[in-house]
């Protein structure tokens, strides 16, 4: 097996930096998941984070492919679970939607991210 490894070496690329080194992995899971294609339109977007959040300084914004907001501007943490951020959605027609989240953890760290999901006709 060591021979196989040796033939597949990429030592010349060993010190080429990749941008992922600074990635913050604070988003644990999301519903609908990143990139998902769902059959039924979700009524909310739920994101679980690795740390407890400050609801006052955390938000989720969902917009359609034209950039129009489709959420109800009511991002809040789940009752009894400060790691979970929820935003309610309007009735979504089929299409691709962008979720933009900003999270502030209780230790005042800020993170943010974007992902898309699709509602299938």
């Amino acid at each position: 097996m060591r021979a196989v490894r040796n033939t597949s070496l990429v030592t010349t690329l060993l010190f080429v930096p990749v941008t992922a080194a600074m990635a913050h992995a604070h988003l644990k899971s999301a519903t609908p998941p990143a990139g998902a294609v769902v059959q039924t339109a979700p009524s909310e977007v739920v994101i679980d984070f690795t740390e407890a959040l400050e609801p006052k300084f955390s938000s989720i914004e969902v917009s359609d492919s034209a950039g129009t907001p489709v959420d109800k501007h009511d991002a809040h943490t789940a009752p009894g679970d400060a790691n979970r951020l929820i935003v309610d959605l309007q009735q979504l027609p089929p299409g691709t939607y962008t979720v933009k989240w900003h999270a502030t953890a209780t230790d005042t760290h800020k993170t943010s991210g974007t992902y898309k999901f699709t509602v299938r006709p």
Binding site: A20, A23, K28, T31, A36, V38, T106, K110
Partner: protein, 637 residues
């Protein structure tokens, strides 16, 4: 490496560092007042003692005042960062909101109350009872500082990490915060009293250093995780810098205790005093540096939340020990190394054979070290990266689409073959359905996928996809390649040669609970995909408390838990090598560690329609755990 930039800017970090320094100084002064000063001043005259108590008192009072001022600065700067505004008026307006409505603000208010109470206690020259009250209040202020750290955000409520952080800070306060009181004592007291103070401070300092080291190791384990996190992330790098400063501090402490303080009682006390004062001042300076490093550390995401960048061409691995020959070779080398170390030790103790013993040990070590080579394997900068996908069903399904458009041309539709497109390549494309795939970490696969595979004659046998596929897409592909590997093995041999993780999903239950895949660990999950005879879970729940039924359905589940994850059936089909993407009528069992363990298809013999058969399967799974890391077991669905 990326430079270490504290989140929120340097001013915010310095305000935080000064707050912690003032808090530790107050606690250290109070600790000195309770435990060192009474003993050191026991044999000195009344006037001298009164003057020293006054100095200690003024230092403690000054520190308490600094806590309040620095905390207020920190609150304003933190508000400025949270509210994300450049206007002073907007920041000031937001301060009450931050103070009242955030955990940070609440902690700051508590700190301010505690510091005010401390200042009140110290408004008059304290008695010993007063010093004890000051010690209690400053200890509370120190614990509140620990509450600002990662511990409370990662594990809300009381956790071992929070206790460790608090004890770490208290020990740091008692030690580093005691340096200024000691400096005052050395500066103004007669040499005999100063030497006594240094002697009484010593056991306190030693205890604190031990506590600091033990708690630091625990915190490193929980926040850094291991060597890759230590050397491959900004957080780990800064922790190493902090460790280096600690070593310098220990050097000063040892010099003070064993050389400079005893010299106070020697022939030249004035010179000894000057040296000790200089040393204590320098030590305090390094102490402030370590607090600044700690403040920056608190502003960085912990290493375990980062992808560690591995800087070496090799990494340690016990993989080779699976091979009996290599295992024997390594065992011999380890024995020889141990013998070499033993002989060297004997040589150091027994003078007469010293040089012969050292020479023999050098030979033994030189001979054995090359045989440890199998313990190291080739490594890549991303070798220790971990997949952020959680092996989610959606990720596997997205990976399938990406594989078809980016990989199937060379690796074949199933990942096994060498289709015509690959005919021109000097080495055949890797068989992605071989069991060997599981020997490679996600991080290694990520490297090859991103930067390509080198051909023996130079150049790339496989191109890298870093420029064409996003990181998420590359992780999706890795999930699909693993799932497909498991599915092909299942189709060919009817079993999984390697433990297969269950695809990640989230579920919601009739009682309002929302469970993500991590919440579901610790018990056996039965996934039920409705078919013609296959019913959804009964409303009364399962007959066994260790078993949780989860229906996979888009229809509202009448009772129990259900997942609407529409990618889950397809992901399960890929994992089992089944062409039926709907998996209608199938049931799956997932063990408490998250491994996919058993499958039952509608109408198959020995079905789980019988409760006894189902429970027997559940018991069998619980009786034969794979463990969180997996192993080399074959699993029959």
């Amino acid at each position: 490496m990326t430079p270490i930039l504290p989140e929120g800017g340097m001013a915010l970090t310095i305000a935080r560092g000064v707050t912690v320094a003032a808090t530790l100084s107050a606690f250290g002064a109070a600790m000195f007042g309770v435990s060192v000063a009474p003993r050191a001043l026991a044999k000195s005259g009344v006037d001298l003692a009164v003057a020293h108590w006054a100095r200690l008192w003024r230092l403690a009072r000054f520190s308490a005042g600094c806590i309040i001022l620095a905390t207020l600065c920190w609150l304003v700067l933190q508000t400025n960062y949270l509210a994300d505004t450049s206007q002073v008026s907007a920041t000031v307006e937001a301060v009450p909101g931050v103070a009242a409505d955030t955990s940070f603000g609440n902690l700051v208010l508590l700190s301010l109350c505690t510091a005010t109470a401390l200042l009140a206690v110290l408004s008059r020259r304290p008695s010993l009872a007063g010093w004890r009250a000051a010690l209690g209040l400053s200890a509370l202020a120190t614990v509140l500082q620990a509450c600002h750290g990662h511990a409370l955000a990662m594990y809300p409520g009381l956790s071992l990490l929070l206790v460790s952080d608090s004890v770490h800070l208290l020990a740091a306060g008692a030690w580093l915060g005691g340096l200024l009181p000691l400096w005052l004592m050395v500066r103004y007291a007669p040499p005999r009293t100063a030497a006594a103070a240094a002697r009484w401070f010593s056991p306190l300092g030693k205890t604190c250093v031990c506590v600091i080291i033990v708690t630091a190791l625990f915190q490193a384990w929980r926040l850094i995780g291991g060597v890759p996190g230590l050397i491959g992330t900004p957080y780990g790098g800064l922790a190493l810098i902090k460790l280096s400063i600690l070593i310098v501090l220990l050097g000063f402490a040892a010099a003070n205790r064993y050389r400079l303080a005893p010299a106070l009682l020697g022939d030249e006390p004035a010179a000894a005093r000057r040296s000790l004062l200089r040393s204590l001042a320098l030590q305090t300076g390094f102490g402030l540096l370590i607090l600044l490093a700690a403040a920056v550390l608190s502003s960085l995401p912990p290493a375990i939340h980062e992808q560690p960048w591995w800087p070496f061409a090799h990494r340690p691995s016990l993989e080779a020990l699976d091979d009996p020959d290599l295992r024997a070779e390594v065992a011999h080398a380890v024995l020889m190394l141990a013998a070499g170390a033993g002989i060297a030790t004997i040589g150091l103790i027994w003078r007469r054979i010293r040089w012969a013993a050292l020479a023999l040990s050098v030979v033994l070590i030189a001979v054995s070290v090359p045989h440890l080579d199998p313990l190291f394997v080739e490594a890549y900068p991303t070798s220790y990266y971990h997949s952020p996908t959680g092996f989610a069903a959606a990720s596997i399904v997205q990976g399938a689409a990406l594989f078809a458009s980016n990989c199937a041309g060379c690796h074949g539709a199933q990942g096994a073959g060498a289709p015509p497109a690959a005919a021109g390549s000097s080495i055949p494309p890797a068989d992605l359905t071989a069991p060997h795939l599981w020997d490679h970490s996600d991080g290694e696969l990520f490297w090859w996928l991103s930067h390509g595979m080198e051909a023996p004659e130079g150049g790339l046998a496989m191109p890298g996809f870093a420029a064409t596929l996003s990181q998420d897409e590359r992780w999706n592909l890795i999930d699909y390649i693993r799932a497909n590997n498991a599915g092909v093995a299942m189709r060919a041999a009817g079993l999984w040669p390697h433990p297969v993780p269950a695809p990640g999903f989230s579920a919601s239950c009739a009682d309002g609970r929302r469970l993500d895949f991590a919440d579901l660990r610790g018990r056996v999950i039965r996934l039920i995909l409705p078919g013609t005879t296959n019913k959804l879970p009964p409303p009364g729940g399962t007959p066994d408390p260790t078993l949780l039924d989860v229906a996979v359905t888009t229809a509202p589940a009448p009772a129990g838990c259900a997942t609407k994850d529409s990618d889950l059936p397809r992901a399960l089909a890929i994992l089992t090598g089944d062409t039926d993407a709907s998996q209608a009528g199938s049931q799956f069992l997932i063990d408490p560690d998250g491994w996919l363990r058993a499958r039952h298809t509608e109408g198959a013999a020995g079905g789980w329609e019988s409760t006894e058969a189902l429970l027997a399967e559940v018991r069998s799974i619980c009786d034969h755990p794979i463990g969180p890391q997996g192993g080399n077991h074959a699993h029959q669905p």
